[in-house]
């Protein structure tokens, strides 16, 4: 029963694979929940910052802040591409890389030089493969990115922007709309687009300002930039985990389907063999009697 043994081996191997994918699915589910919590926990800070900046900001202040400088013709911009360190997450990294490639092509078509900064092993692997020179790279961002990580990534870029060496900073990341919707997105973090003042939100209050609106904005605009990068980091982690969960769920389901087919084939082969054996015995007995 050579075929039966072969089938048994394959059944065993698919069972083992399914065990692994199921475990990965469960791990990704719990990591995703925690990442999702962090996305939610990051919101109050962003809201508070946005509120205050929009209430203090007025367009006549714009020229005084280097972070709001709108270069007429950008010559050189930085693109930060966030990817994950681990694979087995379906099309997650491929989608991010595709988005980044589209952006780079789009910017370069208008004659802009693009510095690419890559976060994550998967993005790094791709850009190494196509042989593109990278402005910077790092793979030490964990599943729990911190506000410090964001500061490390963007502080140098902010300095370069203020010094006029680069004319814009973009971030490609996976936006976390919901578990099922994590589209790869590219946002411009520099120059800062000042948040719009919400109409009818109590209007402008007469605050006592210490020291004054300009000094407060000078302090808060960099925080705002750092926070947009922090949110991109957190949302990308949540997106990665949810993509991995979906991929592993599909893998587990597929393994189940394959197992059904294999088991059926195996049982059929076993039954056929038994039937044949009985036929042979009966045939043999009949020959003896004859």
């Amino acid at each position: 029963m050579a075929k039966g043994r072969e089938l048994k081996g394959r059944i065993k191997s698919v069972e083992n694979t399914r065990k692994i994918t199921r475990t990965m699915e469960m791990v990704a589910t719990s990591k995703m929940k925690r990442a999702q919590d962090r996305v939610v926990a990051a919101r109050p800070y962003a809201t508070a910052l946005t509120d205050v900046i929009s209430s203090l900001y007025s367009s006549d202040l714009a020229e005084r802040f280097p972070l709001l400088r709108q270069p007429a013709t950008p010559r050189r911009v930085a693109l930060v591409v966030l990817t994950s360190n681990r694979g087995l997450a379906g099309g997650f990294n491929a989608n991010l890389i595709k988005e980044a490639r589209a952006r780079i092509a789009e910017l370069e078509r208008t004659g802009v030089q693009v510095d690419v900064h890559v976060i994550g092993k998967k993005g790094l692997g791709y850009f190494k493969y196509v042989g593109r020179a990278l402005a910077s790279q790092r793979t030490d961002i964990t599943d729990r990115p911190t506000a410090e990580n964001a500061a490390e990534i963007v502080d140098q870029l902010m300095n370069d922007f203020v010094a006029g060496q680069i004319d814009g900073v973009y971030v490609t990341y996976s936006k976390f709309n919901s578990v099922l919707s994590t589209p790869p997105t590219t946002d411009r973090v520099l120059p800062v687009t000042p948040p719009e003042a919400k109409a009818g939100a109590g209007g402008q209050r007469d605050y006592l300002l210490f020291p004054d609106a300009e000094a407060i904005l000078t302090e808060l605009l960099p925080s705002y930039v750092r926070n947009s990068v922090y949110r991109a980091l957190v949302e990308t982690v949540a997106g990665e985990q949810s993509a991995r969960r979906t991929a592993m769920k599909n893998a587990t389901d597929n393994a189940g389907d394959i197992l059904n087919v294999l088991r059926r084939t195996y049982n059929r082969a076993r039954q056929a063999q038994i039937t044949q054996e009985i036929a042979e015995i009966v045939g043999g007995a009949a020959a003896l009697q004859g």
Binding site: L49, Y207, L208, F210, E219
Partner: protein, 82 residues
């Protein structure tokens, strides 16, 4: 009573009511009691104390503090509970 929230980029560290807030502003400590005029101030580095007898203490650096209608928001990039 004041309604206070202490917010860092990663999470809301404190949300609740207290009688007083003492915060390290950029140029020295600032104390807030109920009925304070609407105010916004930059923060420096130091200890944020909520309530009498320092019921809750945080070490903070940077950010700002906003008071309006007895609502106090402390928004800071670096905050750690003490």
């Amino acid at each position: 009573m004041l309604t206070v929230s202490v917010i860092s980029p990663e999470a809301v560290l404190f949300e609740g009511t207290t009688e007083s807030v003492v915060a390290p502003a950029f140029d020295g400590e600032v104390g807030i009691l109920t009925g304070h005029a609407p105010m916004m101030t930059l923060l420096g580095q130091g200890e944020l104390r909520l309530g009498p007898g320092a019921g809750q203490r945080f070490r903070i650096r940077g950010g700002f503090l906003q008071v309006v209608d007895d609502q106090v928001r402390v928004v800071t990039e670096h905050a750690a509970k003490l």
